[in-house]
Symmetry: C2
Subunit: 146 residues, 2 copies
Amino acid sequence: MRISSRLTIAIHMLACIETFKATRKVTSDFLAGSINVNPVVIRRLLSRLKAAGIIKVARGTGGAEIARPLNEITVLDLFTAVDCVEGGDLFHFHEHPNPDCPVGRNIHTVLDGKLLRVQQAMEAEMQRITMADIIGETRDIIAAQS
Amino acid sequence: MRISSRLTIAIHMLACIETFKATRKVTSDFLAGSINVNPVVIRRLLSRLKAAGIIKVARGTGGAEIARPLNEITVLDLFTAVDCVEGGDLFHFHEHPNPDCPVGRNIHTVLDGKLLRVQQAMEAEMQRITMADIIGETRDIIAAQS
DNA sequence: AATAGATGTAATGTCAATAGTTACATCAAA
DNA sequence: TTTGATGTAACTATTGACATTACATCTATT
């Protein structure tokens, strides 16, 4: 299974919030229009990002804004905030290896650490990418197009 | 979504095939018993591993054996052989960003390379783990228990 | 040959997660 | 008080993983 598109949607959301903050109020409907998904999907993600302290959402009056400096928001922060892998484990281990088999009895012990290192390698690379990088590049490309 | 347990099952299968090759014929039913999944699940994975040139399966008479030196079979080989992520892409990108929005129009360009680097970091770590490592450690643990 | 014990694979069912959608309670500024 | 938002529950559809049954096919052995 691929990692949920919640991650790329969340990145897109932050890029929009920052890009349009000076020109308009960035509502869930506006974000839904840019990303092309249902507004409720956006609101569910706004909730999670708010709970993680990444954004602030104005109840009633509406509009979202980013709560931290862009270079202090990494892709890993978003990945964990929107809960892309259940229980935080990237790999789904088969649940019931046979304890009566010498291999089945020990396979977890042998593999768990190795799989964790794989996940950590992925997360370390995610941590190197900040929203400042992404939004900076986006701004440059948009400027070159206009 | 987590990565399919097909990966850990495939690793377990190879560990069993190697561990028991001297003492018994390793059939899909025997593997299913150690892993505790349905034999058909095992046979489907045997098919894929065979297609990848990792194992040989004796039709009719039965039994599986490993086709390459253990230190030339990496976890990455198994990951790709059993097709753990659809289309080879680890991340599911939202499908239809709005081309009329400057962010939606460019989000793919900005993100694709970065997401690929994350995936490559994960795969590089997978490539460092060989079945020789895994089976060696398993053998040591089993020996210490008996 | 016939048999026994395997593999190969199609067909079907169940379950869980994702995502779409409708509906509505709630909130805050004008 | 109205308006335009957010917050969230409820329901549905779709998809992938995995279980299971069934059966065709293969090959060593008798």
